[in-house]
Structure formats: structure tokens, C-alpha cells
Symmetry: C4
Subunit: 246 residues, 4 copies
């Protein structure tokens, strides 16, 4: 049959990550995670701001890096075989650095006494378990909401044809908002190790309590993301062979 270069159409994200563009992709992943963590950890009335920021960030940077801003998403995309090994290793590194910078900027723009004010900080800024919530419930909850988020990411961006980044950014932003509103009472809805680690480091200068159960925000999202990749692979079984490099 005709030797069409279908691989280029299908590897929507990884075909951006060639030798030259990997620096661009890493830069926007760093920048996007910084912006996301800054907006997610600053005090606010309304829980909808992180989802809205995500819509804008994916609309801006999706074409360049895929718009992950989250090590759990990077792991999920990689487990679907759609990201190079180099990007799988380097994306989480710059995301963690971005998360640290975003959390440091949140710390920098407000008075010290407000920053360490428990009333606020353990409310939204850092992600800790709510009172009476057992670690097992929190793990299940973080795992579930990250499964929803990463499955939405995989279904909307890893298309056979050209990704519709508008559809993808709205779907991902709105599921993130729904998850944050839903899980706020249980785990404060992180879904993102970079978003949990950065603020925890900044806060640990004042109290070590933030590290209690911190593993929940690593294990939950990573297991949820792996499950999402498994579901995506099941749903795409029929055309899976065309995904393999020839």
C-alpha cells in the first residue's frame, strides 16, 4: 500500500519533541507549572481559578509541549507510548522546579503572618488531609480524581488526527475544576505532585506538619495516571498497532 507518513499525524505530541524543540517544550512546562502553582496556592475565595488557569495554559502551550504541567500527566502520556524517554525524564524535573518557584512567588507576595496563618494556609494553599480523613480514603480520592483528569487528557489530546486544542483545553480545565470542587473537603484536590511538593517545601520552614501523609499526593496521582493510561490503551486497542513505530 501507499507508504503514507501516518506516524507524524498520530504522534501528535512526541513529534514536537525533536532535537531542537525539546528546550522550548521544557521551558514552557517550567513556565506553565510556575503559573499554575502560583495561581493554585495563592489565597482566593473561589475554587475555580486553577481550572481556569489550566484552560489558558493548555491553549497557549499545548502545541509546544503538550501542556502537561503535572508529573502525573507526563507519566500517563509516557505509559501510552506517546512521549520520548528523554521528555519522560526531563519534564517532571522542570515541573518540580516550576512548582517550587510558583510556591516561592506565592510566599513572596504576601505578609509572613498571613502566609503561616493556618486558617488560610491549611485551607487552600498547601494540600493536606482534612480532619478525620484516613490516608486510605485520601489515596483513593486522589487516585480517582487524577484518573478522571489524566483520562480526559489522553482522550482529548492523543487523537489519531490533529488535536483540537480548544476542545482539549476546555475539557481538561473543566474536569480539573469539577475535581477540585468535589475533593476539596477530603484531600484539597491536588492531582499533581509538583503542585503539592513546591508549597510543602516553602511551608516546611514554618512547620513540619505539611509532610505528614505527603506521600498520598505522590502515590495517588501516579497510580491514578497509570490506570488512566491502561483504560486509554484498552479503548484504543483496535488501532494500537498503528501507534507502534515501524
Amino acid at each position: 500500500s501507499r507508504p503514507r507518513t501516518r506516524k507524524e499525524n498520530e504522534h501528535v505530541i512526541s513529534n514536537h519533541i525533536d532535537e531542537w524543540n525539546i528546550y522550548q517544550a521544557l521551558f514552557v512546562e517550567f513556565l506553565g507549572t510556575t503559573i499554575y502553582v502560583f495561581i493554585a496556592t495563592i489565597p482566593y475565595y473561589d475554587s475555580t481559578s486553577p481550572g481556569m488557569a489550566l484552560i489558558a495554559l493548555i491553549a497557549c502551550f499545548g502545541k509546544i509541549s503538550g501542556g502537561h504541567f503535572n508529573p502525573a500527566v507526563t507519566i500517563g502520556v509516557s505509559l501510552c507510548g506517546r512521549l520520548s524517554l528523554k521528555a519522560t525524564i526531563l519534564y517532571p524535573v522542570v515541573q518540580m522546579v516550576g512548582g517550587l518557584l510558583g510556591a516561592a512567588l506565592t510566599r513572596a507576595v504576601q505578609p509572613s503572618h498571613e502566609y503561616i496563618d493556618n486558617e488560610y494556609y491549611f485551607e487552600k494553599g498547601i494540600t493536606v488531609l482534612r480532619e478525620n480523613v484516613k490516608p486510605g480514603w485520601a489515596l483513593l480520592c486522589e487516585g480517582l480524581i487524577t484518573l478522571f483528569l489524566v483520562l480526559t487528557y489522553l482522550m482529548c489530546t492523543l487523537e489519531k488526527k490533529k488535536t483540537n486544542w480548544l476542545l482539549a483545553s476546555l475539557a481538561i480545565g473543566f474536569i480539573a475544576q469539577a475535581n477540585i470542587l468535589a475533593a476539596d473537603f477530603i484531600t484539597r484536590a491536588s492531582m499533581n505532585p509538583a503542585r503539592s511538593f513546591g508549597p510543602a517545601v516553602c511551608m516546611s520552614f514554618f512547620t513540619k506538619d505539611v509532610w505528614k501523609h505527603h506521600y498520598v499526593y505522590w502515590v495517588g496521582p501516579i497510580v491514578g495516571s497509570a490506570l488512566a493510561a491502561f483504560v486509554w490503551r484498552c479503548l484504543n486497542w483496535q488501532w494500537s498497532c498503528s501507534l507502534l513505530p515501524k
Copy 2:
């Protein structure tokens, strides 16, 4: 004239449900209903999360199953002659199972004493009539808002040409949000027997009060959905003959 295979373009949803894909469609209907019911029944501040989740779910799974996640929607689509008999029977079964699983997950991630706390649970999680609301009013209200939801679904997805799933997901998600905000004071806005039955089963281990007037959440949505199908058939009278299988 030219024997174009117009049927394939027009039966937007049912042409996905061929012998092979019906399992995929049933799986995503199950998964989507689980996610929707989990997000709709977990405690939250803001009533906008179910609508947002619906936007993401339809954007993800619309192309595979049509994105119903609701027996009332399935009945409406079927009454418009756009779903095979097999799917009309099996979709509601998996949706009910998904609703049960979603409600069980809500139960699993929170402390028992918070789950059975009336202050919360009769507030959002399960759908019961508000105080002083008569069953007739509730039936009218559930019927009306389901009519709005299903009519939006039918107008936006059962297009003659290719369905614009971005337009459809946003329109359906936003009308769901508007309905939930509007009917919250009267019936808590279910519009979905799967979303009402699952949480009621989970709650009935603690109290049987949830079954009082439960029929409202079956009769209202199903009658509203049938009315929506009737309105859609009236509006599409002119090209209805082309819908009939040759």
C-alpha cells in the same frame, strides 16, 4: 441520482454502535456515569461541578458512545430513532451499575459520620424533595429541566452533518449547570435516574427516608425526555423521511 450513503453521515451516533464497538460504548457509558455520579454526590461548596464534569465527559466519550451517562437521555435518543434496540436496552443497565459504583465511591472516601450527616447529605448528595415541596410540583420541575437537557442534547448532537462535539459538550454542560442552579431549591435537580438511584441505594443502609417520593426521579426525567424527543421530531419534520432506514 447518485446513490450517496447519506445514512452513515446522518446516523451520527448509531453508526458507531456496530457489532464491534458496542462493548467500547457500554464501557465508556459505565465509566462516564461512575465519574458523573461520584462528582455530583460528593460534598462540595459550589453547584457547578456536575455541569463541568459533563462537559469533559462528553468531550472525551461523545464520539464513542454518544455521551449519554443518563437513562433519560438514552430513552430520548432512542425515541428519535437514532439508537439501535440493543443499545437502548444495554445502555441504561450499565448506567445504573455506574451510578451505583459512583455512589459507593462517594461513600468510600469519607468518614461514616459525615456521610450520614443530614445537614450535608440531604443537602446535595442524594436527591430528595425539599421541605414543603409537593410531589406534583417536583414531577413538573424534574420533567421540565430534563426536557431542557434532553432537547439540548438532541438539537446539538443529532445533526444532519458531522456533530460538533465541542459545541454539544458546552451546550449540554451549561444547560445542566443552569438546571441544577435553578431546581436546587425544589428537587435538588437530578434529571437522571442513575444519579438518583445509586446514592439512594447507598444511603438506604442508614435510612429508608430516601425512597419516599423516589419515583419522582424516574417518572419526571423519562416523561420530560419523551417530550423532548417529540419536540425534536416536530422540528425535524421536513427531513424526517431521510432518517428512516431504507
Copy 3:
């Protein structure tokens, strides 16, 4: 030059309103206004529901009737020369009937004592001036917000080429939401004589106070809409001759 039938492309809305389709258009204007007024007048926590309903209604019915659901919008479109005389006369009639039905349905689904409860009803359901607000301020405010709404409608739907109904529905729904949030403290943000008249008729069985300053909700929106049509005509001066029927 080539005698292209440009008129058909340009008269985006009025070319739907031919002899046969006018009944369809009138039916969906009636139905859409009923839904809009029902959702806008029912008690709710959050003022965002009318804008969300508008997004869904325009996405559903825009292609059939233009998606006005508002006599002020109909007047504005007509003053731009984009609606037949018949539609200009009949649209507002069915919109007023729809507004009455929507308000009656709101009345039907709730207890009488809650309906006439001033705390609620003069809060959201009916549109009356807030305390200390002079009629002149209210006229200016209603005129301004209707100008914003109708100008958005005209700029987004009366395109030279095919209307992007997704862009139009989101722009119109979001400006409606912004207007409602902004003017809520002054006039309760009607922007729509049908939305003000229907609930006022239903409420006048209990109190005649609703008719005080009711003219504000007719004069303000109609003057604002005429101004929007004037601004639209100024902005489209350069291609205005191609709009005239040959």
C-alpha cells in the same frame, strides 16, 4: 463579474425565515423564551444560571430562529436590516407569550408562601429597582447593559460569512452573565422586556408594587438595542451597500 449569490451568505438569519420556516422559528423563539424566563426567575443561589441557559439555547436554536429570546434583540437585528418585517412583528409576540408561560411555570413549581416571600422574590425573580435607586439611573443602567448584550449579538452573528454559532453563543452568554453580575445591585439586570413582563404579570395577583417603574425594563432595553444597532451600522459602513437587497 460573476453573479455570485452573495445575499444568501450574508443574510445569515433572515434567509432562514422563508415562507415555510417562519413557523419553526416562531416555535423555537417561544420555547427558548419560556426556558430562559423559567431559569432566570426560579430561586437560585448563583446568578450565573441565566447566562449558561442562554449559551445552550443559542447553540440549540440559533440556526433556526437566530436565537433572540428577547424583544430588544429582535428590534436591534431588525434595525440592522437583517430581519423580515413579518418576523420583526411576530417574534416579540411569541417571546411575550413564552415569558408569561415561563413565569407561570416558576409559580407552579413552588409553594405559594415562598413565591410571595419578598425576601426571595424581590431579590431575583422579578425585576424591580433596588432601594435608593432613582429611575434615571436604572434607565441608564438597563440601557447600557442591553447595549452591551445586543452589540455582542450583532457583532457575532451578523457576519459576512457563515456565523460561528459556538463563538456567538459563548460571547452572548458570557456578556449576559457579566451584565447580570454587574447590574444586580441596581436594576436586577433584566435586559429583556419579555423576562420582566411575564413575572410581573404573575406577581401582580399578589401585589401591584411590581408595576412601579416597570417602564424602565421596556424603555431601557429598547433604547439600548437601537443604540447597539446604530453602532453596528457605523462599524459596518464599508460593506453596508452589499447588505442592501438588490
Copy 4:
């Protein structure tokens, strides 16, 4: 090779600003800034209205003027080499006039005693530093959020190919909403000298306190916007030569 007029495709915005259209562009920038400042400064419950208004305004006027409504955005676009010198000078002038008119209209539609009520006015209407917030923090915060806003504007509108104004309007509106929710507790989130200057002039008839630290709302946004232009230029290095006029 073929002398394609690529410049016309690439200079998406500036190719609108030819000799004839500059008056149209200036008019819609004036009108849009008036609407934005009116909606942003009027009392409201919910901080989401300015972002929603921005979505509608960019959807309406983006094709005509680029949809800046903000001197900081105009400076950013100009530093990317995508705006004529004439527009760079005249846009901010009409934006400041529009900001004054919008703030005057806000003043006109409400009682005097409510307008000068500190409880309200220093809450949302005018942008002043929150208690205990040092000017340096405020500068950093305004600079950061304007960087996010202008970078989103530049990434989404200055495309090589045709700008997707729907994607651009949603991304810009949602990042504006996220920024306003995030920075509300620190600087009240202006991101826009025209939005800060107009209300400050109107308020200065009652109190001179509004001018304290007013420079923050000029220096922060302009420095943030210049940084955004720098980041955009870095990310577009590879095709930067094609941007230069031949």
C-alpha cells in the same frame, strides 16, 4: 521560490490597522475599554464578571482592533513588532478615555452615598493595596499576573496562521478570571492601567487616598507586559526572521 505574500498572513493584527481601518480600531478599543471598566468597577458579588466581559469583547472586536482594551497589552504587542507605531501611540490614548468614561458611568448609575462607601468601594471598584501589603509585593504581584495575561494574549493571537479568536477569547478571559481571583487579596488584580486610572480619577473627588501607591498599577503591568513580550520573542526565535518586514 514563489513570492507568497506571507507577511499578510503573519501580521495578523497589524494588517488590519491600515490607513482606513485605524479609526474603526480606535473606536472599538475606546468602546471595549468603556464596557470593560464599567463592568469591572460596578459593585458585584462574584469576581468572575470582568473575565466574562473580556471573553465577549474579544470575540466581538478581536478581528477589528486585536481586542486589547488595556495599555499594557498594547505595549506588549508593540514590543513583539506586531503593531504600527501610530496604533501603539493612539490605542493607549483612547483606552484611557474609555476607562474614564466607564468609571464615570459606574458613578452615574448608583447613589452617591453608596459610591463613596468604603466598605464597598475599596473592596472592588477601585484598585488599592490591601492592608499590610507592601508596595514591593504589590509590584511583584501585578507584574506577575500581567505577565500571565499578556503572554496568553501573545501566544494565542500572534499565530503564524489565522488567529482562532474563539480560542484566544476564552484563554484570555479565563486567565484574567484566574488572575483576578488569585490576586484579589493582594492588589485587587488590575493588570490594566486604564482600569486603575479611570476609577481613581472619579474617586479622587471624594478622597485623595486612591492615589497612594497608584504607580504600582502602571509600573507592574508595563514591566510584566515587557517581560511577556521577551518570553514570546524567545519562544518564537526560530521563525523570527520571517516576522521582519522585507
